[in-house]
């Protein structure tokens, strides 16, 4: 298959998304014009695009801050989730002591914790990382625990008859078995981590897209707020794409049924 053919196939795959976004943008542009909506209230896409180019340097700088916080927070979340999920499947005591805390941590509105975190750890990167971790580790832990527990008892018995140690059973059987579930949790976490970074920045920062949105919003620079939202979306999609790419590589040897998408409408 030539490069041109691959590009054509990819373009065809993305065509519905391109058409849907284009239709939305055109409808927005036309409706804002026809209804004469004030620009400070809802700017048309053309103004937002202009703002994107005019503030490119500033947006890039703030996006860099948010991206670093997001990547660090997401990475910390993954490590933490791996440790917690492993502990939960390894020991009943760990499960009984940690699970209630994990569930309780998700019942607290994290948005109310963010100002407290600023007081406790300051306005530097640490407070944002903690907010991101609070947002993201839960879906990752739950998906990982589900994946680790999806191992069939017969498989564990087979490993035991081969003389495997508990550690060998964990990393040669349970971890590979859990990968499809793990990546499902990572995909949720990747998108949510960007929201966590913005909330962290909203309550105390000196840079970052969340901080920029707060300042611009306060000055009724709505186009700048939307421009920051566009950059945030791109950031979240990039992180999501990275997770999908790592997932594809990690599951490249798995049966096609693991990654196969069933579409009832096309059956």
């Amino acid at each position: 298959m030539t490069l041109l053919t691959i590009l054509r196939v990819k373009l065809f795959d993305w065509l519905p998304a391109i058409i849907a976004v284009a239709a939305l943008v055109i409808a927005w542009e036309v409706l804002v014009g026809v209804l004469e909506v004030q620009r400070w209230l809802l700017p048309p896409p053309s103004v937002i695009i202009n703002e994107l180019f005019d503030s490119l340097a500033s947006l890039s700088r703030h996006a860099g801050t948010t991206a670093s916080e997001t990547v660090i927070g997401f990475a910390v979340s993954i490590v933490l989730a791996l440790l917690i999920a492993s502990g939960i499947v390894w020991s009943r005591t760990v499960e009984r002591s940690i699970y209630p805390i994990i569930i309780a941590s998700q019942t607290i509105p994290i948005i109310t914790l963010a100002p407290l975190l600023i007081i406790w750890v300051g306005t530097d990167i640490m407070s944002k990382v903690i907010v991101i971790v609070l947002f993201t580790f839960f879906p990752i832990v739950i998906s990982l625990v589900t994946g680790l527990r999806s191992v069939e008892q017969e498989m564990v018995d087979m490993f035991r008859t081969l003389g495997a140690s508990p550690w060998q059973i964990f990393y040669k059987l349970m971890l590979p078995t859990s990968l499809p579930n793990f990546f499902a949790g990572l995909k949720v976490g990747a998108v949510v981590s960007v929201i966590g970074a913005v909330i962290g920045e909203w309550f105390g920062a000196s840079s970052g897209l969340g901080w920029l949105m707060k300042i611009a919003g306060g000055q009724f620079q709505t186009a700048k707020v939307f421009a920051a939202i566009v950059v945030l979306s791109i950031l979240a999609m990039l992180l999501f794409a990275v997770v999908v790419a790592v997932e594809k590589w990690s599951l490249r040897k798995y049966p096609p049924t693991v990654t196969r998408v069933i579409r009832l409408g096309e059956s």
Binding site: E154, M155, D157, M158, F159, R160, T161, L162, G163, A164, Q168, K172, L173, P176, L251, K253, Y254, P255, P256, T257, V258
Partner: protein
């Protein structure tokens, strides 16, 4: 024509432990949720001997293999494989092929086959060399790089057997290895197993529902009865190689043995079917 020589022993008659026995099970019992599954089960298997366990579903055949392999703890009695008497010592030292092939879907055939020796610490090159050495006789040489989901059921079973055999443990347990296969593949794999498996230095226990399979492959057939599971007969079925001619399964001795085992499975513990 002389009558077919058959020996029938009650459970206790086969429990006599002796030095040649690689596997010895003495008066073993097992309960599940306070329900007795196995009661006073005893058997011995010598070096070089191939023993088949036949019995109806639910009589505890697979449970017995789980006890021998060390996966499950016995409620009572003693199990010895070689000089190993402690359950945890048997884990990893008894080769056990379960009913399903249980191949890891993310590993190639070669990587699945070498799993047992890899877990024992064999290096990649060394374990791959061992896999490649045996792969031809197992009919897997051309599919070593393929993934399990690309193989037929028969080939998957061969890979699972290679994984079980490679650690070279003295006791090999086979739990209905061909149970999920169609009749033609099953027959060809039975013949292949007879030709391939070097049992001279091993004690092999095969669990099967298939009476013909048990007679074809084994030296002795132990017949089990349910509720609770116990051994009700021990039948010497070793067929003289001179009878192997056109089709062993149509020989008078084979038919006689089959009648005998079937009558025992039907609840006639005297095995009167043999004289019919």
């Amino acid at each position: 024509m002389s009558p077919v020589p058959l020996t029938t022993n009650k459970a206790n008659d086969v429990s006599v432990d002796h030095d040649d026995a690689l596997l010895s099970v003495a008066n073993v019992g097992f309960d599940y949720d306070n329900t007795p599954i196995l009661d006073e089960v005893s058997l011995t298997v010598d070096r070089g001997e191939f023993v088949a366990l036949v019995g109806p579903s639910g009589c505890g055949k697979s449970t017995l293999l789980n006890l021998i392999s060390g996966v499950l703890p016995a409620r009572s009695g003693a199990i010895r494989t070689g000089n190993r008497v402690i359950r945890s010592d048997r884990l990893g030292n008894v080769s056990y092929m379960q009913q399903k092939d249980l191949l890891l879907p993310w590993r190639s055939v070669a990587e699945n086959s070498r799993l047992g020796i890899e877990l024992r610490g064999a290096g990649h090159a060394d374990s791959m060399e061992q896999v490649e050495r045996l792969s031809r006789s197992f009919g897997l040489a051309d599919v070593l790089d393929m993934m399990p989901w690309q193989l037929s059921g028969g080939m998957r079973q061969r890979a699972a057997l290679l994984r079980a055999v490679l650690p070279e443990n003295p006791v090999l347990l086979l739990d209905e290895p061909f149970g999920a296969l169609d009749a033609i593949t099953r027959r060809s794999l039975q013949q292949w197993l007879l030709n391939t498996l070097d049992t001279s230095d091993r004690a092999v226990v095969l669990v099967t529902h298939d009476v013909e399979e048990s007679i074809l492959l084994a030296d002795r057939v132990l017949v089990m009865a349910p509720n609770p599971g116990r051994i009700v007969a021990n039948i010497d079925v070793k067929i003289d190689s001179s009878l192997d001619g056109a089709d062993t399964s149509t020989s008078p001795r084979f038919i006689e043995l089959k009648k005998r085992v079937l009558s025992l499975l039907n609840g006639d513990e005297s095995g009167s079917g043999a004289s019919q």
